[in-house]
Each structure stands twice: as structure tokens, then as C-alpha cells.
Symmetry: D2
Subunit: 147 residues, 4 copies
Amino acid sequence: MSHFQPADSQWESRVRASFERIGIMKTLGARLGALEPGKAEILLDFHEGLSQQRGYFHAGVTSTIADSAGGLAAYSLFPADRAVLSVEFKVNMLNPADGACLRAVGEVLKLGRTLSVCEIQVYSQRQDEERLCAKMQQTLFQVAAVS
Amino acid sequence: MSHFQPADSQWESRVRASFERIGIMKTLGARLGALEPGKAEILLDFHEGLSQQRGYFHAGVTSTIADSAGGLAAYSLFPADRAVLSVEFKVNMLNPADGACLRAVGEVLKLGRTLSVCEIQVYSQRQDEERLCAKMQQTLFQVAAVS
Amino acid sequence: MSHFQPADSQWESRVRASFERIGIMKTLGARLGALEPGKAEILLDFHEGLSQQRGYFHAGVTSTIADSAGGLAAYSLFPADRAVLSVEFKVNMLNPADGACLRAVGEVLKLGRTLSVCEIQVYSQRQDEERLCAKMQQTLFQVAAVS
Amino acid sequence: MSHFQPADSQWESRVRASFERIGIMKTLGARLGALEPGKAEILLDFHEGLSQQRGYFHAGVTSTIADSAGGLAAYSLFPADRAVLSVEFKVNMLNPADGACLRAVGEVLKLGRTLSVCEIQVYSQRQDEERLCAKMQQTLFQVAAVS
């Protein structure tokens, strides 16, 4: 279990509503998984329209769900009137992203007033097996939410 | 003009064919732009299905076209029987990606026998203006092509 | 305990000898800490000659011991006739590196035939407390050792 | 020539004074080179105490002068009462850092009120030749100076 205390008791519905506003998640077919304060999971089933040249998940697709998993993990700890922006991230592809499903798990490493840092692990799932296929380190900015 | 000599005289048709095999490019609506040996451009018009929560291009979408622009830039210099894999990349979001179109320009910084390094600039275009909105530094691996 | 099996039974003396050949470690005053297969620790006491403008450890110093901790962690798993080179790394400064001592702990995330990936945590120690002050993600290349 | 306008007419003496306060620069033997608004150069001659296992400049040493070259480039554009902190950086080693001297050139890519982004090129010099040996992308934070 996460050791973070959310600043807003409505954090979970706020995270779910935020995910619904991310247009690219619908385009990819991604869905929100388990949530905890400071932690968020995004799942994505493979289809041809997500591939690179060899028929695996494209590294940019892997990064897209990782970036949002990290962003939502940090956002879950923000006060209700704040929003999150990605400053930068770095991702290593560790193993081919060749499974039937990707699972990105974002976790807050450092929560700051202005900047927060998350790390995100992406697992590729095939039958009963799961393997770490990518790891991201990400910096996020806390801004005033637009109303 | 680029100072690189392509190893394969058919480099341009090979790069175009490679782009066609990237499933996520069709899903996003991205198209290939100008090509030179060691340089590749990808263009992407905005639509709702590419957005993050504020209605701008999602950082993962920006990264997806940047990653492929860098990959194709390196691939253009490879011998005909080789393929390219992304090892890792790091991207900074410099300005909001809020224009009508993104233009990613990938360029080879170092061509190696096994590893190559590219840098990719992504510009956001609005009316007659263009602004640098993201910069990526990327490591690529040269592998045998699958037949 | 680490789950890695070293390829060379003499891995520990090989890692210790490798550390002794790193000139900058002596210049900084760094010393080798605990070792396990796939894991290496480097310690560094603060002195004025390691500082940035505010009198904390310079981010480059933090990165130097982190880079070598990761490199030695990977090197511990290599066959005896191989050496390690840093391809690239990315480091986030999470908290001020303002303690009396830094402790960098490098761990192998992925061991590959050519490329390996490590992550390195750097803790700043003050009296009885220890705090994570930096986190690095690093790519390494396995090459033939020079004789 | 740089296109940036410094906010403080005393920027150059302020940058020189800041460099003098960086303890690790003296320890390494680094010296400040050419300065422009938004641009800073650091030079470093090779000696055994800066090496990795093969006798080249250690990647952490290369990163240390690159980090400060970027930090001073941004600092040159700050108002007089502000200071600079490194948030994160990523560096690729492109060629062996095996020359007699390193030359790091930091340049501001984006100047922001809170965050700035620099890129830094490090060249290795040998006799009459110079070669790009490392490239860094770096995020910096603007804070109130301590008096």
C-alpha cells in the first residue's frame, strides 16, 4: 500500500474524471486500472493500429500510457484545484513490447509543491506471464486547474 | 543539407515503405514529410483524439512521432538488410503543443555500427507561426532485418 | 538479496580491482561499499571541494558516483573478459544533496548481451537519517576488455 | 551570436563570481571559457585523476562540467536576485572522451519564469582536432538567491 495521504478526499473520482478527458486514451483503447493515492495503472490491449514495424507495441504508445499513468499518480495527491503537466520524461525499452496487453504502473517518487517526480514500470502480458518491458522516469509540474 | 552518405542507394523508398508499416502512424493520422539521408520529418494535424486533458497534443503523441522521426532518420543511413529499434529516449516539453499541426524533425547526431544517437525537434504550427514545443534525445539499435 | 547469478566466480575481486582503476574516485575521495551480484554501493563524504554554489554536493558529483555504482553493478555480472562503458544516463535531483555523506546504490534492471540497464538511487545521510536525493536510469554497453 | 537579452547588465561578472563558488570546479581543474548571454563554456584539461577505467575522462566528469555549463548559461539570463538549481539532466556519450582537453558549451533552449531547458555539447580536443563526445539535455529551476 502507498504511504501517501491524498490532499483531497475526492481524489479517486477526480482521477477517473481526468482520465476520461484524455482524448488519446480513447483513440488507443486504453483503460484505467487500479488506483491508490500516489499510484495509477493503465491497461492497453494490443491491436495492429498500435504497432511499430515489427508488429509490437510502438515505443511511443508504451510511453503514452506510461506518461499518463505517472501524471495521474501525481494528480491523485494534488489539491482539488490543481492540474498536472508533463515537464519531461525518459524511457528505456528493456524487452520487446510483444504481448497481448500492456500494463503501466505509475508511482510518485517525490511529491513537491511545484515539481514532482514519478517512475513508471510498463509490463507486457502474455498468457499467464508478465515481463517488465519499459521503465520511465518523469518530471511533472503542478499548475492551477483551468475552470 | 545533410552531410551523411546513405549506405543504400534505395534509402528513400526503403524509408517510405518502413513508415507505411508503422500501424500507430495511421491510427494517429501522421504523414511522412521531407526526407534526406540522416534526416526525416513527420507531420500530424490536431484532432480531439490526440489530446491530453487541456485539449493540446498529448506528450505521448508528440513523443510517438518524434521517436519515429528519429528512428527513420537513422534507418535512412543503414544498409538495406538492417532494421532499427528504439533503445531509449528522453523528451522535454518546452512550450504547450497547442497548434493545428505538429512537425517532428529527426536528425542523426552519431551513426554507429551498433548504436546511433538522434535528436528530434518538434514544432507546433499555428497559422503562419512555428514554435519549438519539444526536444528529444534518442538512442537506437541497429539489428538484422526480419525477412 | 540479488537474484542474479554472476558469470564469473571471481566477480567480487574483479569489481574491487575495477574500482581501484577509476582515477576520479580517488580525486573525489569515494570508497566502495557493499557488493552483491548485480548490485554495487559507493560512499562519499562531503568536503568543500565537492560542492556547487550553495555548498551542497554538486549534481555532477552525485552523478559521477551514481554512474560508477551502476557500471560496477552491471560489470559484476559480466564474464571475466568483458568491460563496461556508459552509453547514456538520466538523473533527477529529488532533494538537496546536503548531508555529510552520499550513498549511491546501483542495481541491474536488465542484463543483456550487448546492452544492460541499471537504476541507481543516491541517498544523502545526515546523523541518523537517510533521504533519497537522486535517482538515475542508465544504459551500459558490454565490450571486450583491453588486456 | 546569442539572441537573448540579459535581464541584468552585470550578468557577466555575476556568472564569473558564480563559477568561482563551485568547489568541484577547482577540484577538477576546470576553467571558465567564453561567455555570452544564454551561453557558457567550461574547459578541462585531462589528468589521471579525472579518468575512468580505460584512462579516458569519466562520464561523470564530462557530465559535471556539462551540468555547470548549462546552469551558468541559464543563470546569465536571470535577474540579479535569482539562483539556479539543476532539476534533472540526461547525457549521451557519443564518442570516447579521450582527448587532451574537454570543452563543454551550454546554451539555453527555453528560458522560463520557473523552469528553463538547456542543451550542452561537450567536445574532446586533441591536437588540432575537435570531436563531439557528449550531448546533454537539462532542466533547471530558478529560485531566490540566498543572501
